[in-house]
Amino acid sequence: MNRGTRATMRLHEPSDGAALVRRLLSRLGFYLFAVVVGAYFAVPMLWLVFAPFDAHPTLAAVPPSAFTMGNFWDLLKDPYALPSLLNSILLAVATMALVVALAAPAAYALSRVRIPGRDLLLYVLLLFSSVVTGTAAMVPLFLLVFELGLINTYLGVVLVLAGGLIPAGIFILKDFMDSMPRSYEESARVFGASSLQILRDIVLPYARPGLAVIAVWVIVNVWSNFLIPFILLRSPSSQPAAVVVYNFYTEGGQADLRLISAFGLLYSIPVVVMYLFVNRRYGFRFYGGLKG
């Protein structure tokens, strides 16, 4: 501010000076806004890094007053904590495998076959998929899974989760496959390749970055999903991490921040590691287009 006015006086050009001040102010405003937004996102991360190592964590993101690894040792004593992470991995990987295995051929078919109303079909599927895993469909979903005798089985959870994710998966993968030149398949067909051979040898390798995107996206979705496993799984030992984290209460009924923060850190590590690995190995390519 001060510098702005001094600059104005030196220039002896009031109109230019006013513009300069306005520019500086808008700059300042922008930085302030960026700092606030940045802090809004950074503070929870800081808390996640600090709190697990604090003997008496609070909800404030401050460096540990008394450093300890005790929180993690206490977590190990909990019978459900570590197994729940394994349960999460199992659910996530199984759902991912099912979604990729079904969405890839479906996307290929929808990308190559011209049927009337194809795009409408895709959009309707996409619309319903958000309903399937949404709160609104919980009662019918529960009843359906109950009738199928799949309550308290991973199969039930995986089927429901996959059902909700496949349409969006098809939608994203179809864009990748649309971008593949037709001559690739046609030349393979002239050489005598069957549709399945073309899918395996040419289409899937070509769409690999798209498959990586879908795989990571499915895993992250399942990893953070609370509602479906919470409703469909009854026994505590089979619950995934997203559900188990709600069990960490003290005898007094207070949220046990020591366990929650330590568990939160463990819970976030696999996703971060996976993201780094996939990004390194395959590279996320979004130019296939996420126009949804």
């Binding site: 001559s183 046609e186 393979a188 067909r189 002239v190 005598g192 051979q197 070509y206």
Partner: protein, 378 residues
């Protein structure tokens, strides 16, 4: 090895576009056959129908005497090179070349050996472990050729394989491709929109327009004795002179000048008939001294073609072009006389654009009733 026969082939696309209209064609075993025409003439559709990538609306395709009309591409034993080469970006060059063999369940070591031997004969053996993205256009083109050769089909189908190369590379690849075809002796159908390419490479060619074959002959015949105005205008690096003429007293009046009627055309014209005279710039003689029975006018523009110069002359209202060797070069503004070589003058009817000697026929340009090219005109 096999011949290819097309009988009454028609392809109608949804929307009613006749891409192919009752085509008949016979391509000999071991022949290098070019399909030439402007874009949208149906040449690529014809090639894709022979490959089995498009289903014909009616008509039949025979390869080696066998009716393949209803067979899938894999059962036709044809190998195709696409305009964009269709090399798989995730496979190495060796894997690309070996892919047709992989489909035939040939063992990996054997595939590698084939890739090495075929790659060696095309001078790409050093590139076998690279990926297509790391190759130049010319190298990619050779990989595509190597792949189709490794497949050992009975017929090669080439869809404008040189159009993605720059001009210099295209000339080299042209020679290379023709030599390769001679060595392998495999029947080759080659689609192109570049008339120079077709003239240079083909044993025979079909000039196509709007789903019809307008002329089916050797490149020399198509060039020298273009059957109709379409072929006359399409073939030739420098456009043919097409001049409106009137038959007057046993000679042709063109822009106030008198030219003799070519002997071969004489019986087919009547007095006062209006015709189109066709004469290629290559078959025009330019003179600075007066010549009887010649077109006369003023030199307007000179264009250097390398060895020759293309001279544009204003003859009355018309523009006439002639190629002239360097030594007898006029200058713009000169009055000159142009004599078309009477052996290479063609006369076309004004109404249907066919040669005056051609039979009047009901739009049948097919191979079984070849357009009556004037064989005596030579």
């Amino acid at each position: 090895m096999a011949d290819v026969e097309i009988r009454g082939l028609t392809k109608v696309f949804p929307g009613g576009v006749h891409a192919l209209d009752g085509l008949n064609l016979h391509i000999e075993d071991g022949e290098f056959f070019a399909l030439l025409g402007p874009s949208g003439c149906g040449k690529t559709t014809l090639l894709r129908t022979i490959a089995g990538l498009e289903a014909s609306t009616s008509g039949q395709v025979f390869i080696g005497g066998r009716d393949v009309t209803r067979l899938p591409p894999s059962a036709r034993d044809v190998g195709m090179v696409f305009q964009d080469y269709a090399l798989y970006p995730h496979m190495t060059v060796a894997d690309n070349i070996g892919y047709p063999l992989k489909i035939r369940r040939v063992a990996k070591a054997e595939r590698r050996r084939t890739a090495e031997s075929v790659g060696g004969s095309l001078q790409i053996q050093a590139l076998l472990d690279r990926r297509p993205g790391q190759l130049s256009g010319g190298q990619q083109q050779r990989v595509a050729l190597a792949r189709v050769i490794a497949y050992r089909p009975r017929v090669f189908l080439f869809d404008e394989p040189l159009s993605n190369l720059d001009a210099r590379m295209r000339l080299e690849a042209r020679t290379f491709l023709k030599q390769l075809q001679r060595e392998l002796g495999i029947t080759t159908i080659y689609v192109t929109h570049d008339q120079a390419e077709a003239l240079a490479m083909a044993d025979r060619m079909a000039v196509m327009e709007k789903g019809h074959i307008r002329q089916l002959d050797t490149p020399t015949a198509c060039f020298r004795r273009s059957a109709n105005l379409f072929v006359a205008g399409f073939i030739g690096s420098t456009p043919m002179n097409l001049l409106p003429a009137t038959v007057v007293d046993g000679s042709l009046e063109v822009a106030g000048c008198r030219l003799p009627i070519p002997d071969a055309a004489r019986p087919h014209v009547t007095s006062a008939e209006k015709v189109i005279l066709g004469a290629r710039p290559e078959y025009m003689t330019l003179s600075v001294a007066e010549v009887p029975g010649a077109l006369t006018g003023t030199v307007r523009i000179l264009e250097n073609l390398g060895v020759d110069t293309l001279v544009t002359v204003d003859v009355g209202e018309l523009r006439v072009q002639a190629t002239v060797p360097d030594e007898s070069m006029p200058t713009p503004g000169d009055r000159v006389w142009l004599t078309p070589d009477p052996r290479h003058v063609l006369l076309y009817r004004q109404d249907d654009g066919e040669q005056v000697s051609a039979r009047r026929q009901a739009e049948d340009m097919s191979a079984e009733a070849p357009p009556a090219v004037d064989r005596t005109a030579r």
